[in-house]
């Protein structure tokens, strides 16, 4: 049988090698090294801070946040879960993982939100962005680990950059979706009253898209968590390293302990951010009510009252 390979063969892998090794790495390595400076800065400070704060206080803060936005059940789960992590001796690794995730999510938000807004405002930009996001979501993460190591080296920051690439698409997608879904007559009304594009964005589009944007943030967070183990392959520490070490030594106990830590962290973060997102449209008002009441000296509005409002 004849096949296209008999006529010509394409040395695709050689081309990529030539492009990355021969051109990208020699020419842009200093640039990529410099690009990881802000990531390293945020990560190291956050990591140092989380390791410095006593376990009891961190747990209390998370439990309170869970109680405020996700209900009593999750608050209790947070208390028990974090205590369990501490008792199996993985607290410092969990905090490192948390620092990595928060750093990734922060950068995803800082980069993804403006991209999403841009994509919502320009059909042209969205047509270009969309396939790029598709590639970022579908390409196996191991594929881009190699060039990342070549460009950034190994360590925490390259791990986080890999995580950002993996986790940013939902942020862009859902910001775009949220803003595009703001009712057309509302944006028309804003325009009819002479608002500038910025005024419209701040007064109308972002507040009304906030729910969707928060859903995107939640997705980004979950994807970042799922990258923890893979990022550990290129030198990122934390719980991912525990899992990898366990895998290497066929230490089923160690690997499971690391895995359970990740799962507990995932559940807590997921429920808190989900609660935040669901309440966000009501809260823009109730938060103001809370503030005015506090300023008038009447104390904060009870949570149950504001959340029960339709």
């Amino acid at each position: 049988m004849i096949s296209p390979a008999d006529i010509a063969s394409i040395p695709f892998d050689d081309w990529i090698n030539a492009f990355v090794r021969g051109w990208l790495v020699p020419n842009f390595r200093p640039f990529f090294r410099a690009a990881q400076v802000p990531v390293t800065l945020v990560l190291n400070n956050l990591n140092a801070f989380l390791l410095f704060v006593p376990m009891i206080i961190t747990t209390a803060v998370f439990a309170l946040a869970a109680w405020r936005w996700a209900g009593r059940g999750i608050a209790i789960f947070t208390l028990i879960g974090f205590a369990f992590i501490d008792m199996i001796g993985l607290w410092p690794e969990t905090m490192t993982t948390l620092a990595m995730i928060l750093t990734s999510v922060l950068f995803c938000a800082v980069i993804g939100l403006p991209l999403g807004i841009l994509a919502a405002r320009s059909d042209m930009f969205w047509r270009i962005t969309r396939p790029v996001l598709d590639i970022m979501q579908t390409i196996p993460s191991f594929v881009y680990l190699v060039p990342i190591v070549m460009l950034f080296g190994v360590g925490m920051a390259p791990g986080i950059i890999a995580t950002i690439i993996f986790a940013i698409p939902p942020m862009v997608r859902l910001t775009n979706l949220g803003i595009r879904n703001v009712r057309g007559d509302l944006t028309e009304a804003a325009r009819a009253f002479g608002s500038t594009e910025w005024q419209m964005l701040w007064d109308l589009q972002i507040p009304l898209a906030l729910r969707t944007i928060m859903a995107g943030l939640n997705q980004t967070l979950m994807l970042a968590l799922s990258m923890v183990v893979i990022a550990a392959l290129i030198g990122a520490g934390g719980l991912g390293l525990i899992v990898n070490t366990g895998l290497g030594r066929l230490d089923v106990g160690g690997a499971t302990a690391g895995g359970v830590g990740i799962v507990i962290l995932a559940i807590v973060l997921d429920r808190i951010t989900q609660g935040l997102g669901e309440g966000s449209t009501v809260r823009t008002v109730s938060l103001r009510q809370v503030l005015t009441r506090t300023l008038r000296g009447k104390g904060a509005a009870p949570v149950a009252e504001t959340s029960a409002k339709p």
Partner: protein
């Protein structure tokens, strides 16, 4: 009165090749042919009109007639293909960017069909939106918002969310938002179209009341001819992006420009369009103290009237009927008392602006109705049969009809019995 809005030769063509479409249009091609040839949709073609200060200009048309596009051209939400739009001397058609935004902040505001209130802001914040955009300080705009909310009767709801209000109340918030920045021109895009009929009626009356004090220049879009006739000082009927007829309510009902307008006019409530002035005739009168009963009787016979009004100097004293006067003459013989003896002082007097539907009752007792001014001077007389003739859109010529009374073209009820729905 000064002209607030002056629109000349306004065109809007949607599509990639508006110029090609405009060429075809100027060569007299139909809308459908242009769509086929160029893929462009002609939304508004050759609209020209003036709106005077304090006037309500109603644009009436069915969906797809281009009326919503027209109103959005006026504040530049949609840029026109060609034509001029002068508002307060500023050309909106040429304005762009900051100039256009300044016009929208200070000169023209808009009220929307589906209210378009910001769901995450309180009623007061919504009303103050235009002021916020202008950069007015928080306290000032709150004060202004409260004043306007008071005007539309919603002050107690200032801190509610729009979602907690009924449709009618929400549209009052929309109206208040439009009025808050004290614009020269208010655009209303089917503002009552999304309300149920009772509330709509209420809002129409309220707008009329408000307009008495506000005296805003309003461009009002509607698909409801009754609403147009009720509110409009001037009405434009729009079809396929073109003005079919522009005129007052009476013009449109009495002289429909073509079959399309006639079809609409066929089933409207004429009693709410025409006033006593439109059907009144020059009075035939007698003087109470100087004319004798014989003179009065003679005048009724020459004018073929059953009754006539009796004046005392300038003012109306009463009405006498042919039957009563002739009976009195037969009974008492010729004399000066006959006229006074048969005088009916219990007559109906209305002013010129009274709508015909309010004359149904008085017309029922058979006596002609006096049209008087504030000083009880007789301006005209409405004969009972003329009220009914006008209501039935009867074509009978009224004897002695004054020149301003509309001549109703014949044959409307028979040939145009189809409703606008059927014509669609």
């Amino acid at each position: 009165m000064t002209t607030k809005i002056s629109v000349t030769g306004l065109y809007k063509i949607f599509g990639d090749r508006p110029d090609a479409a405009l060429d075809l249009l100027n060569r007299g091609e139909a809308k459908e042919a242009i769509l086929e040839a160029t893929g462009a949709t002609v939304a508004v073609q050759d609209a020209s009109f003036d709106v005077e200060e304090g006037e309500i200009f109603v644009v009436m048309g069915l969906s797809g007639s281009g009326k919503s596009t027209l109103v959005r051209l006026l504040n530049g939400l949609i840029p026109p293909t060609s034509g001029n739009i002068l508002i307060e001397g500023q050309d909106v058609a040429q304005a762009k960017g900051e100039v256009l935004r300044e016009i929208r902040r200070n000169t023209i505001t808009m009220v929307f069909q589906h209210f378009a209130l910001f769901p995450h802001w309180s009623v007061a914040d919504n009303v103050a939106y235009g002021l916020k955009v202008k950069g007015m300080p928080v306290a000032d705009r709150r004060e202004r918002a409260m004043a306007v909310l008071d005007q539309v009767g919603l002050a107690p709801w200032a801190d509610s969310l729009p979602g907690d209000l009924s449709g009618g109340m929400q549209q009052r918030v929309g109206l208040a938002r439009g009025l808050a920045s004290d614009p020269q021109v208010l655009l209303m895009d089917e503002p009552f179209g999304a309300l149920d009929p009772l509330i709509r009626r209420e809002m129409q009356d309220e707008l009329i009341e408000l307009q008495k004090t506000l005296k805003k220049t309003i461009v009002f879009i509607t698909h409801d001819l009754n609403e147009a006739l009720l509110l409009g000082d001037k009405i434009a009927i729009m079809k396929d992006g073109r003005f079919v007829q522009v005129g007052t309510a009476q013009d449109i009902v009495s002289n429909p420009a073509d079959d399309y307008v006639q079809a609409f006019v066929a089933d409207i409530d004429r009693g709410r369009v025409f006033t006593a002035r439109d059907v009144s005739t020059d009075p035939v009168t007698a003087q109470l103290h100087t004319d004798s009963a014989e003179v009065a009787l003679h005048r009724m016979e020459t004018a073929q009237l059953d009754a006539l009004y009796v004046l005392d100097g300038d003012t109306v004293s009463g009405v006498v009927t042919h039957r009563d006067v002739s009976a009195a003459l037969r009974r008492d013989g010729p004399g000066d008392t006959a006229l006074e003896a048969s005088l009916i002082t219990d007559f109906t007097a209305v002013d010129q602006g009274t709508y015909l539907h309010e004359l149904y009752g008085p017309a029922g007792n058979g006596l002609p109705i006096a049209v008087t001014d504030a000083g009880n001077r007789l301006l005209g007389v409405v004969e009972t049969q003329d009220v009914l003739a006008q209501l039935n859109s009867d074509t009978a010529e009224k004897p002695g009809a004054d020149a301003s009374a509309p001549a109703v073209p014949p044959g409307i009820p028979e040939s145009q019995s189809q409703t606008p729905e059927a014509a669609r």
